[in-house]
Symmetry: C2
């Protein structure tokens, strides 16, 4: 298990206490999803936090008019979950889908809570994960409320530096909350400025 | 202290273990803010979670063009904080302002962490607070991405049933991410439907 991104991630975030790491790993299962496959559908209950070992996920909602709105991408080393659905045991508002063949580790919420109770390092790790999640969501709101199309695009590049080549333009536009035509205009304008 | 909203809130959320409640209360200070007074300015570090005992707060950002965007209101029994700023010790992106004369309890982040380590009931309470925060932020994003002006307005009424009479229309419009003119149209349209 030593050459996995997940173990490296855990070691650098929780520390090197082997007992805790082994307890955690013994409760995680691995699951692979083919490109296009769904991990979760709107209306289902989300059971896990998914850690992306390899591949790429997207999380999105579909509105009443059938339009998709992407809330998050998760490439390698990212977590994806609907914490609301998991925690409050409610049907999810989101779909999760693999955009590439993807390998994930599945962590369940009880595990988070139980390990937090028994291990301080894990408690602090989970606390950091939750605050990081809040940070991302707050930034997303500020972006949607007030950023121009160009600012949103530049934010996207900073947040997901290697995704431009992996994600179809139409999904990037959906994430940014702009039309594909606006995205195309922004890209041309930036290319012109940087010439 | 028994007739306070804060103690009732804590008792119903953490339980009636007097030792824990007293430990918590002994670390909280009370602060009053006059109508219009700021609890936090953009660029400052946020130090606390504020529990609203009486009154009303708003949290907002100001964009490059000087336009305000309200992210949250907090009437009685709500918490308001910039968890990102507190936790990561970063300058805040937000202002917090009292919209009425307001009495708050101040809880600091170390207290949350220390009590979580020493007391399981508090750990679960803090975990619930964080997940509730995530739930609100996720809904806000979905609302901003995909809801019509009317849906946003109806959501607002569900979320803050008694605020319509306490908050100026211009602030409601700012929270909803629509113009005051759109808000006025939506209200007229709903009044017409319900006639």
């Amino acid at each position: 298990m030593n050459n996995l991104r997940f173990t490296t991630y855990l070691t650098s975030n929780i520390g090197t206490d082997k007992a805790v790491l082994e307890q955690l790993l013994s409760h995680c299962s691995i699951r692979e999803f083919k490109k296009g496959e769904f991990l979760l559908s709107q209306g289902e209950k989300c059971r896990y936090s998914f850690f992306v070992e390899r591949g790429l996920l997207r999380q999105f909602s579909i509105d009443d008019k059938g339009k998709e709105h992407i809330i998050q991408f998760a490439p390698e080393n990212w977590f994806m979950s609907d914490r609301e659905s998991v925690y409050f045991d409610r049907p999810s508002s989101y779909f999760m889908q693999a955009l590439e063949d993807t390998v994930t580790f599945l962590l369940d919420e009880n595990l988070f809570l139980e390990l937090s109770k028994s291990d301080t390092a894990f408690l602090e790790f989970n606390n950091r994960l939750l605050h990081n999640h809040i940070r991302h969501l707050q930034r997303r709101i500020t972006q949607l409320q007030s950023a121009t199309a160009e600012e949103r695009y530049l934010d996207f590049i900073r947040m997901y530096p290697d995704l431009l080549l992996r994600v179809p333009q139409i999904f990037v536009a959906s994430y940014l909350g702009i039309t594909p035509e606006s995205l195309s205009r922004v890209r041309k304008e930036l290319a012109r400025k940087n010439r």
